[in-house]
Amino acid sequence: MKPIAFTLNGVARTVTVDENRDLLWVLRDDLGYTGTKFGCGASFCGACTVLLDGREVRSCVTPMSRVAGRKVVTVEGLAQGDKLSPVQEAFVEHVGFQCGFCTSGMVIGATALLEANPKPTRAQIIQGLERHLCRCGAHLRVVDAVESAARKMAGGAK
């Protein structure tokens, strides 16, 4: 057990935990942030994706030792109050989800993708989301949503 300080959705937090524990369960079980989902526990599916210093990581295989001193953003941290982020808005508008269980990870993954590449081609969006699984088959809508968010963030027409 050891105190680990990090920033969670813009707020400084310190948790005293075994540093080998994975971020996913500290978020869900210790801190009550249940928006981040458990899907496979082995970094295959992407349901647990969060931003770590702005880049997407699989929280199910991210030990707290890696989190110390860094910035974590979960799906709960994307909106500014009631104002959804452009990616969230686009997911709502294009219905980039069905059951919604992969959606937290998808939204985070898309946010990271657009952060790294604000003007992606459709092929780059597909490649960028390749490691996010969706069983309902909302893929088409997700890609449409990310394309639309990119356009909107670039200030273009939607």
């Binding site: 079980d29 899907g39 082995a42 799906v75 069905q98 919604g100 069983r135």
Partner: protein, 715 residues
Amino acid sequence: MIVPEGWGFVETIDRRDFLKLTSTGLLVAFAVKPADGALRPVWNFAEQQRTPPDFNAFLHIGANGRVTLFVGKIEMGQGIITGLPQIAAEQLNVPIDRVDCVMGDTDLCPFDNGTFGSLSVWRLGPVLHAAAAEARAVLVQMASEKLGVPVAELTVKDGVVVSRTDASKAVSYGDLAGGKKIERRYEGQAALAKVSEYTIIGKSYPRPDARAKVTGKATYAGDMVPKGALHARIVRPPAHGAKLTSADTSAAEKVPGVRVVKDGDFVAVLHAHRDEADQALKLVKATFTPSPSTLDHENIFAHLEAVDVPRRQMEAAGDVAAGEKSATQMISAKYRKGYVAHSPMETHSAVASVAADGKVTVWAGTQTPFPLQTLVARALKLAPEQVRIITPFVGGGFGGKSASQQAIEAARLAVAVGTPVRVVWSREEEFFFDTFDPAAVISIRAGLDGAKRIVSWDNDIIGSGGRGAAMFYAVPNHRTMTKGGWNNNPAGMHPFAVGPWRAPGANANVWARESHIDTMAAAAGMDPVEFRLLNLKNPRMQRVLEVCARKFGWTPKPGPSRRGFGVALGEDAGTYVVNMAEVKVDPATGAIRVVRVVCAQDMGVVVNPEGATQQMEGCIMMGLGYVLAEEVRFRNGEVLDRNYGSYSLPKFSWMPKIETVLLDNPDLPSQGGGEPAIVGMGAVIANAVFDATGVRITQLPMTPARVKAALGKNG
């Protein structure tokens, strides 16, 4: 339960709120007739049924003018959270955002057998139409008395009853219903709004759960954390058929915060943190008997053919032997497909809590809250009323959450430890305990006469049952036998549980039939679409085929045309569906690239076109999985595919260009929409592969290795 109050806000209400809400206002109780299917016992649930209910949904209108539907159905992504309110709003003449939906809560909603079979709009829908119309009639009658205006002179606009001639004479539903308690049983007498007058049905509305789902606020069973809740991890056998012989939990017990439950062969370790429970589980030293099973994913087909299970005749007409005599060509083939996992992204999850009075509440990711209530009660030796199942949002089901063993496990453990318990299956548990889509062997022997008409059809289906196999081509002599199915299989048929998988059995059966039809078209030297049109005497299906062909830009050419075009026809849940696809096959690797899929569907009156379209798109994407890659491998009771490292779901890069068409058919009531578009995916791709290569592949999934081998043998 799901209460998207004001469309987009999700919260929990309890029994007191329900009684308060329904203590005044208009409450209409309505039922789906058992003959309509929604109450038909499904799967192995016959023995789990309670007294047959006499109604199975409520519609309430309160003083605030809000309409609340209480239905036992659940929302797992399919979108009835939008579709059902649309129906009520249409018949009541209220804006859709005034309708709330309370779903899947056994304390608040009347009995419902479960959410499956594309039944919600198809079978519950008509009764909801009628109940809402009844509520409207009651309210208009009350308004007539209050306003002193004859019923015939009244109309309803946005929840306000108003005189057609004097707009000052008006009263809102809320004012009519408020302060009184009016209970009505649906009698089916009220006149329905006409299809031609619909203003809400047939339009698309934003999903009320969208905001909650993109912000992480939508709650699923595993997100419920009652105070003091512990995560449970259960000691599992390494193989089906293996039995626990010993479990040494002493090391796990020494871990701070860990509790251990041992109840016969049910052994669990519990901890407040899931990952620490995982670690404690690894410390348990358990031994098991070996599994007696000698089956694997390769010898399973011979086993299914040999296993002593009686066949039953599903359908027959004419005289198959005589038909075969009149044939000029006989075409026979055997089709095999493996087991497929449901693999919803949310693993089976449940949280159970026991109140001071002994009442057990279970939040469960389930498609069948009411049958589950009975099962949990039975496991705990309680009356069903002592168990409440609450179904939050379900993270995908596809039939796999008709079985909800995890909820029973959570409830048993909550009783054992006296504190709330969370059971969230690992992905490995999900693959192990899934009720797989059964492996199947389908043998078809069919005859073609000189006029290129199908004159005989002899279909022997092992494993997949009869759904989707009904003959809709104009074949005078046909017979379909089934041996086993996706439900009610005798012990020994399968090495593990099988169950309903999105359009259960139809994926295999439609694949085999439409592959065979395609082979016959090629044998007749005909274009596959023209051959089908020649052999159909079904104007509704012909129309869907023609619409799809137009959208696709199909030009007639006998196969293999080397264009890589495929077509498949299907009927499911009352809906007619045609898929067309274009594929490219890489002969060097055997990889199939599905370039384009066009899907046309006649589902009668479409309640929510966007929702229906999303279901079609989802079916197409999900279908790519079982067609191209998904097959559960196993050996001697052990499931070898346990996570996505070896078992691949469809990925973004697999996505073809998807185009969908919903046919306008206002004369037909709404049919099912959750499953039809998936049933043709096997055949449409197999037929396109044949068209591209001239090689017929008769085993699913069509993995690169299988395709390469088939091309090498026949190409």
